[in-house]
Symmetry: C2
């Protein structure tokens, strides 16, 4: 539920951005697979699902604002080598962490929009981890090596992301282990 | 590959629209499942995949235009009862069929953008089918009945959608049967 137009607009913009991030990561994941980087492909596909969780949260927060809207969202484009695609992914995650979500959270707090605050905060905290993981992956690929990872676990409530393990309780939202979805190669 | 700014902008807009449609249909599909309409849920989830195919095609046509861009896309919002969600889905598909894709195709033709023409045309032809299927589903749900369907098959090249069957050859793009993905309940 959302009451204020500005927060509704920010939720729509964030929904558009997360929706595009999902599709971009699916395409870039397939490219990584084709280039012989199954670990990077796994990372892209699992994080795509985390973006789906964020998109769904923003969309649900907008449940009471029905009908057609024009949505303006920032997004990274281009399909190149996996190093370039990881560069794009890092740029997108950093924009969300450093600019977009802090700004949207600030406005939501000022407007007392509880559901939006939660939805923006879940995304913000998860994107910090995504930026770090993509940076690690880029480092590996730049040295001609695949990213070393066996599994990636995603919290279906907030998009929290953990490699090679699953917490008993989500450190972002507190959800129990059975709310996690594990991705493998 | 795209050469002209206007077609690039239209591809980005269409990519944004398709990316959002995917996420919307996933959320509305879960809602249909919760309301006891597994046939409608199947339809939403399968068509979501068709929108993923469209998003991927548009994104690949933009492969040479790298970096961050602001993307403006139309989208339907709101999470209500399944009849309302189907209403939103029909409105979105009709907008694409009657307004968006014909306009984008016209510009792409004028600019000689072969890859964009193909990508827009694949989507346009598939959306016509989506609009019709969602209308059928709405009719069932308005009478308190689930949509009667056992499987939905999607062409992974163009998003062509067929209920309870799979063609030998895709009627939109000509792809063989092994390029189809079948969704069941
Ligand atoms: Fe996200
Ligand atoms: Fe992210
Ligand atoms: Fe969580
Ligand atoms: Fe589509
Ligand atoms: Fe469609
Ligand atoms: Fe096809």
């Amino acid at each position: 539920m959302v009451k204020n137009d500005m927060t509704a607009q920010n939720l729509r913009s964030a929904f558009g951005g997360e929706s595009q991030a999902y599709q971009r990561y699916i395409v870039w994941g397939n490219k990584a697979e084709d280039e012989g980087f199954p670990g990077v492909a796994l990372l892209f596909r699992a994080i795509a699902y985390a973006e789906q969780v964020h998109a769904g949260n923003h969309f649900k927060a907008l449940e009471n604002i029905k009908g057609g809207h024009l949505v303006a969202s920032g997004g990274e484009f281009g399909l190149g080598k996996t190093t370039e695609n990881l560069e794009g992914a890092i740029a997108g995650e950093r924009f969300e962490v450093e600019q977009m979500y802090p700004a949207y959270k600030l406005v939501a707090k000022d407007q007392g929009e509880k559901e939006a605050i939660r939805s923006f905060n879940y995304a913000l905290e998860a994107e910090k981890i995504h930026a770090k993981l993509y940076e690690e992956a880029r480092e590996s690929v730049e040295q001609g090596q695949d990213y070393q990872v066996e599994s990636v676990s995603i919290c279906s409530i907030c998009g929290y992301t953990e490699t090679d393990g699953m917490p008993d309780k989500c450190p972002i939202c507190g959800a129990p282990r059975d709310k996690f979805k594990e991705f493998t190669k």
